[in-house]
């Protein structure tokens, strides 16, 4: 009898052990459609490459939804191990010390090497704390670029093989497109991101103090400078003349480019897949235009997209699993494959070199524009923009700029108002997060 129960106990222990042998790693993300398949494939490849850990990817809604969900889960003690957070949420995550574990620490605790220097400077800089520690794992980064319709250019008597380099050239092209009967010569998606944030780093001017917020939480906005006012005013004049047509917030303008209605657009490099698949005209990708009289322009553009954060309060074995997964994701060939598959930036130089060697950029002209804009030495004005309450500030940017495009406010008034309203939110954030 005694022997029998022992045997049963041993059998139970054995099954438990084999069930426990695989540590599950929860990964919440916001990737839809083709990108969802990409994320699932990454997890599958990792799970098949070893037996100890199992990464379980879960779609938790779009970026702000998954972040809200994770915060609610964290507050009730059920946070996932890995959370994908968009760049706008970076300041919030970074300020919440104790809620997350720095990636550098996760890796070194697991005895794995992790070199932040391998990453493209603008990417690494964005996710690094003032003390030099990398806080989150760069995953899918994008940047803003310029797309134009070559057929429309030809019709307007413009050289379709040469992209307008400077803003005056863009406005000139818009005039000609308008004259040739094009109803929407130019539009913009993500206006705050493209016309204020990227515009600032591209021209190497301050967006906010404290290195655009990277150096401290007491940053305040600086986007009512004469250069910013001049640029928004130029766009307002183009809007009044019908040469720039506003098509709504976030990415809503993109559809009017693929449909052929608008001939030029500035938006995310991640829009490339959509254009390649749906545009029924010949198009080209080019760097963002700049004002040639600004010293230091063009510098580099700012990143968008998301990174992976490790949540606090998990078991040591689980952190080992997270580290192993990140180690897998760090492989150049995994990153190069991801870059070529999704259109997101190759986050490391090695992945970029590997992609270049494979001849990918020659086969898909324009796909290296985004990378070219990013792989430069960054300055304090261009390392990135990381401000608190930034989701609200983006909304304020939308609200104020819309009033400029419809002629209700002057560029100066609107930008002053963004600075005033935005600074109040920055002060609130600073206060809520001071320790």
């Amino acid at each position: 009898m005694h022997f029998k129960s022992l045997a049963i106990a041993a059998a139970i222990a054995a099954t438990c052990a084999s069930a426990q042998a695989q540590t599950e790693i929860q990964w919440w993300h916001s990737m839809t459609a083709v990108n969802n398949e990409w994320v699932n494939d990454l997890a599958k490849q990792f799970n098949e490459s070893q037996k100890e850990y199992k990464v379980v990817p879960t779609f938790k809604g779009v970026y702000d939804e998954s972040m809200t969900a994770a915060i609610a889960a964290f507050r009730s003690g059920n946070a996932p191990h890995i959370l994908q957070v968009f760049e706008v949420g970076t300041a919030t995550m970074m300020a919440s010390k104790g809620a997350t574990v720095p990636v550098g620490k996760v890796m070194s605790d697991a005895g794995l090497s992790f070199d932040p220097k391998a990453y493209i400077p603008a990417v690494a800089g964005y996710y690094t704390a003032p003390n030099g520690q990398m806080l989150s794992f760069p995953f899918n980064s994008s940047t803003t670029i310029f797309y134009y319709n070559k057929d429309a250019f030809k019709k307007a008597g413009l050289n379709p093989d040469v992209a307008p380099k400077t803003w005056p050239e863009v406005f000139e092209a818009a005039k000609k497109l308008k004259a040739s009967g094009h109803s929407c010569p130019m539009t913009l998606a993500w206006q705050g991101w493209t016309q204020l944030e990227s515009f600032s780093t591209w021209h190497n001017v301050e967006f906010a103090t404290k290195s655009n917020g990277l150096a401290g939480m007491d940053a305040r906005l600086k986007i009512n400078s004469p250069l910013h006012v001049k640029h928004i005013d130029n766009l307002a004049k183009a809007a009044a003349a019908g040469e720039f047509v506003y098509k709504g917030r976030a990415s809503s303008a993109q559809a009017s480019f693929t449909s052929g209605e608008c001939a030029m657009i500035q938006t995310s490099s991640g829009f490339y897949g959509d254009v390649a698949k749906n545009a029924k005209f010949s198009y080209a990708l080019a760097p963002l235009p700049y004002y040639s009289d600004v010293k230091g322009a063009p510098q580099n553009t700012v990143i968008g997209g998301a990174s992976l954060w490790v949540m606090a309060g998990k078991k040591p074995a689980e952190y080992k699993g997270v580290a192993a997964f990140f180690d897998f994701l760090s492989q150049s060939k995994v990153q190069a494959a991801s870059h070529q598959r999704t259109g997101y930036l190759p986050v490391t130089m090695a992945a970029y070199d590997l992609t270049e060697k494979s001849g990918f950029y020659q086969k898909n002209p324009g796909t290296d524009v985004a990378v070219q804009q990013m792989i430069r030495k960054v300055t304090d004005n261009s390392r990135g923009i990381r401000l608190g309450n930034y989701v609200q500030i983006r909304t304020i940017e939308d609200e104020e700029l819309e009033q400029v495009w419809s002629g209700k406010k002057s560029a100066k008034d609107a930008l002053d108002s963004i600075v005033k309203r935005g600074d109040e939110l920055l002060a609130r954030f600073e206060r809520a997060n001071k320790k």
Binding site: D64, M67, T68, I71, F74, R75, T92, A95, S96, K97, G98, A99, Y246, K247, G248, R249, A250, S252, A255, S256, S259, E261, N389, V391, Q392, T395, D398, E399, E400, E402, Q403, W405, S406, K408, R421, E424, L425, R428, R431, A432, N433, K434, K435
Partner: protein, 293 residues
């Protein structure tokens, strides 16, 4: 002569009330108390550091001209949504009540919008009226009317009002139809024999008898316009252009759920709660006097 039911037991009424009280406490009083508590705090998203700030969140809001502007906008929006919603559904209910053939079909079609989620309704209307892609915008253009709710404040407001009304019509319709059908046929017949036409019958018999229903729907529709429309607004206009469709509840949702500014969002919901309580009190004290049960 007094007709009154008396419960002699002391515990029975409480026991009967208990389930309802329990549900209200869990789903209303507790969250409401939490909101009040949070409105006095400034807190980071993860709740790692909380600071007690007293009335500062409220002071900030009342100091913000953009927030104050949205009061007028919300008043306009809710009056339009409730007014239009009630009028249109009453008309539809009267017609559906008179129909003899295929009545079921009409009723079903009128009820369908209620099954549509607010966000889907918003997206649906946004697409129909989208300046570059929308069917309606296209035909309006053919007729010489330039529709662009992305740039035009009034058009944007019209769009969210239309979408919100459309969404609520089914609910109102059901109540009005039930109300109309519970009016005794003999009353209508007697009026007809006395020579009252359809308009007269409606005005002097049906409408007064519907007044309890109309009053109930007025309260419900105001509450709907105040609280349940943020999904529609988010999908159709995201509060724009400028802030022309950013009503109070949309800002609560935006600041709380999207921007994680919990203190301010909580203070806003407390203000909203006070407004709706005040509105309801006014309605029950003054409007209800005109209601004949």
């Amino acid at each position: 002569m007094e007709k009154r039911v008396l419960f002699r037991s002391t515990w029975l009424p409480w026991a009967l009330l208990l389930p309802q009280l329990l549900i209200i406490s869990i789903f209303f009083f507790w969250p409401a108390a939490q909101a009040v508590l949070q409105s006095f705090q400034v807190e980071d998203a993860f709740g790692m550091s909380t600071e007690w700030v007293g009335l500062e969140n409220f002071a900030n809001l009342l100091d913000d001209p953009t927030y104050l502007n949205s009061f007028m906008r919300t008043a306009l929006f809710s009056v339009l949504v409730a007014g239009l919603g009630i009028t249109v559904s009453l008309i539809l209910a009267i017609f559906a009540d008179r129909i003899v053939r295929a009545a079921m079909l009409y009723k079903t079609l009128l009820i369908v919008p209620y099954a549509v989620a607010p966000v889907i309704a918003g997206v649906l209307w946004m697409f129909m009226f989208s300046p570059s892609l929308g069917v309606v915008a296209h035909y309006l253009g053919e007729l010489g009317y330039d529709w662009n709710h992305i740039m035009n404040d009034n058009q944007a407001m019209a769009l969210v009002v239309l979408a919100s009304v459309w969404k609520q019509i089914s609910y109102n319709f059901l109540f009005f139809l039930a109300g109309l059908q519970s009016i005794p046929k003999s009353l209508i017949e007697a009026a007809s024999i006395d020579g009252a036409g359809p308009w007269r019958r409606f005005w002097n018999i049906q409408l007064p008898l519907l007044s309890p229903t109309t009053f109930f729907l007025l309260v419900i529709n105001i509450v709907y316009a105040f609280f349940d429309t943020f999904g529609i607004i988010d999908a159709a206009t995201a509060g724009g252009p400028g802030q022309s469709t950013s009503i109070l509840v949309y800002k609560v949702y935006q600041d709380g759920f999207k921007s994680l500014d919990l203190g301010s969002s909580a203070a806003q919901s407390v203000i909203l709660m006070i407004i709706v309580v005040a509105l309801t009190v006014v309605q029950f004290r003054y409007v209800e006097k005109k209601v004949q049960y």
